[in-house]
Structure formats: C-alpha cells, structure tokens
Symmetry: C2
Subunit: 361 residues, 2 copies
Amino acid sequence: MARARISDVAAAAGVSVTTVSLVMNDVEARISDETRRRVREAAKAVGYAPSSVARGLRTRQTRTVGLISDQIATTPFAGRMLAGAQDAARENGHLVYLVDTGGDQAIEGEAIRALTAQQVDAMIYACMWHRVVDAPAGLPAQAVFLDCRPADGGYRSVVPDDRAGGAAAVRELIAAGHRRIAYIDTDDGPIASALRHQGYLEALGEAGITAGPALHVTGDTSAHGGRAAAELLLDLPEAERPTAVFCFNDRMAAGVYIAAHRRGLEIPRDLSVIGYDDQQLIAAEQDPPLTTVALPHYAMGRWAMEVALGVRAEGDEDATHLMECPVIRRDSVGPPPAQVAKPNRRRASHTERSPQAATDR
Amino acid sequence: MARARISDVAAAAGVSVTTVSLVMNDVEARISDETRRRVREAAKAVGYAPSSVARGLRTRQTRTVGLISDQIATTPFAGRMLAGAQDAARENGHLVYLVDTGGDQAIEGEAIRALTAQQVDAMIYACMWHRVVDAPAGLPAQAVFLDCRPADGGYRSVVPDDRAGGAAAVRELIAAGHRRIAYIDTDDGPIASALRHQGYLEALGEAGITAGPALHVTGDTSAHGGRAAAELLLDLPEAERPTAVFCFNDRMAAGVYIAAHRRGLEIPRDLSVIGYDDQQLIAAEQDPPLTTVALPHYAMGRWAMEVALGVRAEGDEDATHLMECPVIRRDSVGPPPAQVAKPNRRRASHTERSPQAATDR
DNA sequence: TTGAAAGCGCTAACAA
DNA sequence: TTGTTAGCGCTTTCAA
C-alpha cells in the first residue's frame, strides 16, 4: 500500500493534477465549488496526504525550522523555552528540528550543515542561560538567538531584561519599607550578574539610597554559596545589617533561608528576601514561599520563533530584544523589623513578634 | 548566491552528475581516485552541500525521525530521554523533529499527519513517565513507545523495570541488615507504584521476611505526602516500627527526612531511607545525600531511537523492553540501630550514638 | 571507468 | 474554469 500521489487523486476525481493541487492548497481563484468538493472527496477516498518533501523541493519552502541548543538535558528552564518556540511553530504550520549540541562545537557545525541541507526555513540558536556567545560559523544571517547574544552582533536576539528585573526586585523591597538592602551576587560572572547588579543600584539610586559596599557580597550560585554570603551579611553590626536581601538566584535565596533559620531569624518578619529565576522546585517550595523574579522563558521562546518565521515584524536586523522579567509575589517580603532599641538587641527579634509583620503566616 | 547544485559541481570538475553523486555518496565502485579527488575539490570550491530534500524525494529516505512527546516542559526527566534519543540519532546521521503535544489529542493527530507528510523514516512516541497509553490513531506500526506501553500492544516499547528496581532497593536495605522495611507508596496509582510494590514484596520474600500491612503506607507523591506517611510509620510501637523505608520517589523520601528530623532521628543512624528516580535537585541535595534508584532515561531514549532506526535488531515486533534501574548509593542507608533494650526506650536512640553506625558523617 | 536520461511528487507558468 | 508541461535537485538504471 504505497502512499497515494496527487495523480491518484486527480484520476479518482476525473480532473487534472493542477486542479487537485489548487484545491489542496486552498487557492481562492478558479475551481468551481463542485469540483472542489469532488476533489476533496477523492482525496479522502484514496487517503491522500501531500508529500512535504516533494513540495519542499518544488517551492524551496519546507515549513521546518531548526533549533540548535547547547543543553536541553541539564536545565529545568529549557522546557519552557522549547514549549514557547514549539507552540509558535505549530500555530504557523511549521515543524521543528531540535538539535542538542551539548556545547560541542563540532556537533554544532555538523548540525548547522545538516539543517541547511534539509533546507529549513529558519534557524534558532538557543542557550540555556543568558550569555554572550560567538556566533558559530555557517549560521545563516537570518537566524535568531534565543537567551543569548552574539558577541559581534549581526543577528536578532532575545534575552531577559536582567537589569530591569533586578531593579524591579529592589523596588519591591523599597516599597515594603526597606532601606538597607543587600545584593547577594555570584562570583561566577555570568552576564546576568552584572545586569542585575546594575538594576539593584539603579533602584536604590531612584530612592536616594546609597548602598555600602558591605552590602554587596558574593558566593557561588548554589544554596551553599548563598548561605555563606548571608552569614557575612548577618554578622554585620546591627546598624549596618540589611533588613532585606536580593539574591542573584533562587538557589542562593534558599541558602539565605538556611542561614536565617539557623540564627532563629524568621522570614519575612526579621529579614525579607527576594530571589531570581522563579525556579519552581525551589522558589515555590520554600517555607514561606519565595518572592522572586521570573525569567520569561516561554515568552522568549515564542518571540524567537515568531521572529524567525517572520510573523512578527521586528524591523531591526541586528537588535537585541529585552524581555520583561515579572516579579512573582509570594511571602518572603515584608516590612523591615521595628527598631525598638538601638544597641545590643540582636537577640530581641527572635522572641518578640514585631507588630507590623502583617504578612507573616 | 543561490545554493550550488550537483550540476554546478559536475561542470566545475568536468564530469557528469552521476560521477559527482557517486563520489559524494562514497560509493565504492567505479570512479578512479583521480576523478574522486577532482570532484571533491570542485565540490568544496563551489561550496556544494547536497540537498536532503531532493535526495529524500528520490530515495524516499529522509534521514529524519519524529519524536512525539506529551510533555517536555514540565518534567526534569525529559531532558535525559531526549538526549539519549538525540545522540543515537546523530550517530546514525539522522535529524529529529520534536513535537510536544501537551497531551492534547488533536495536536497529537496533527503531529502524526505532519510528520508522515514529511516522510520521517521513523517515529517515537514518548511519555514523560511510565504509563500505559492508548496508541494514537494513525501512528505507523513501526513506531516505538518510549517510557510508555500501548494498551493493546502491537508496538515495540521500552519502559523502566520498576519491579526489579523496587526489588533492588529493598535488597540493598536487607543487605544492610534491615528486617522491618516499610514501603511508602503513592495512592495516585501510576503503574510504577504497583510494580515497585511487587519488587518490594519479592525481595522481602527472598529473604524470608513477611511484611506486616502496617508497613505499607501511602500518600501523595510529594514531600508533604512522604512526610505524612512517615509519621504513621514512626508512630508505630517500637517493636513494629521499621528501621528502613523504601519510598516511591525521591520527593517522598525528602518528606521522610523532614519527619525523621522533627523527631530528632538521624539518617541513616536511626532510620535508613532509599528513594526512587534519582532526581538530582532532590536526591543529591539532601543531607545526607539520598541513596536511590535511578530511572534510566538516557538509556531508554537511546534504545528507542536505535530500535526505531533499525540499528539495534530487536527481533520482536510487539515486545516491551525492560530497562534496568540501577541503585545509586549515597549516604542514607546504614545498618539498623542496635536494639539495646526491648521496651520503652523510644527516646534513647536520639542521644546515644549506636556503635555500629559506621556510615554516619 | 564514465555518462545519459528517467523519474521521485509536487507547483506554477502558460495555454486552452 | 481547467489542463499540459517543465522543472525543483537528486539517485540510479542502463548503455557506452
């Protein structure tokens, strides 16, 4: 039972292949309703499905797009990005090839060649975290970069607006009444680190706050690193100790929880904390649930696909689109603790419930 | 700068297209070394890359495979499975289409049609956790099921050997000296639940242990559910209380940690626990790190792809392959606590360090 | 050892 | 309103 071809349908319907082609492609013109109906019927009768391969050869449009990514396996974020890209592709009648290179340059080159040979209509080059990368050789100029930016420009790209996200996080803290706000940064130096720090300074500046350098501490991007950094902060003399801390990511924020709990401090009564990433398994599972800034992975995936497919006219050929990172409000931010007495009352807050801790649960 | 075609190469090398084709496809016969070299040079010179589309039309082999999955987005396991499938595909010169249906039947059908139209050489139908599913209509008979089994058979499939995995977990506990071993099961009723329970009973049976029904408790598949179930177990009179517990999954095992810690019990000194899934963010991050049984996602993904591509001759057309789930030894299993005195010493173990707790850290 | 030519299944220009 | 036909770029049979 070989596949039915267009000529089988034509024969069955008693028309020419042109007519069948026209009908199958929903071309408005010509073709009487009656013929149209007959063709449709014949197609169904013989079980006809057009060959995308033959069409692709003829039209040079394959309705496929290649998505090359460095790592799908290891990160919990990848899925949202792929889902966004997938959905946009499907809505536009495209199928997506996924190639996971594992960061291997050779595989990357091989993938670009294979995808080119398949005549994909578009290509997306994705990273699993916000980075600046060297554009791989052979990547077509119309490719779009997802969650990364090519070092030398020349391509359209979409990345999270980490600066604005950092500012939003800190504004959230300022709005709750905090003035001594620390930033627990990473020392691994990803681009997001510097951007979020910029946002932090920007928001403080707006509020006329100058942050002492003691409030900018670093650690590795893990709960352990966050905890160690938090210890430093909590060891500060009371008058300098932060009442709120903005963390580079949720894992580090989880470390802050641990450090705080070990000292009998309660969140948010004694210390407010806000994370970044909105990593479900971490942020939502904390006690109390962590307020954080979400990385807009789904939206970025969708944006990249829509731009790649040309359904979203994004004028500039060489522009980086910044995607907003929304604040996700949960329960780790509250007003700063009351300063009942100035000196030597470090233990006080553990036993006295501060009156305005209305958001406690 | 349109793409170079085979005829461009032929012209440049001063040979026929036949010759070029033969050379490009590394056909052994004919062609002198000299000609071969000239053709290769010409191809490089004009930047020739064969069109997979044209070749696909001619040979009816596209060197592509379709992977339909219910959910890539939400599960942390998906990645490993995709990675295994990807790697196998790449090694065999195939590209993979990924379609995430989100469990939507309409999208599923649409995907099967689109993939068929693209003339994929093979199809894989993947689920993100071990399930029995109805085979979707239109799925070609050669498709292989990954991490799921079609209800009515008729397809090749690969799933984790949850029964053997459960037995291995319990044997691990028995080998450490335990006799009173509980199973914290889920009440959500996935197929893995019953299989792991079978394995549990089987391993106990081998050792001549009969488990009282009080040692089989259930909860929902979360840390919370695991904790509640553990409370039940720890409330048992000492003579019946389990010294070790096998959990349906790592999240529930994390709940057991919490319940144990709240009572001042230390793991593994006072209670051994073993999980299932080897979910990185959970198992490896526990204190002490959780011994667990790994789900062989990468291996299953690879197996499915190799069978789909026909590079692994798996004789039976209608067979379910069971993939071994290896025990991952970390630090949550130790010998049972010493039974210093029979009755009424429930608090003893919290303060006295049992002498043989050699694996404590 | 090499080349000519048919044809994979479709679209689209052109003709009727 | 419909049909004829020339390719899209390749592989492969057959002939030289």
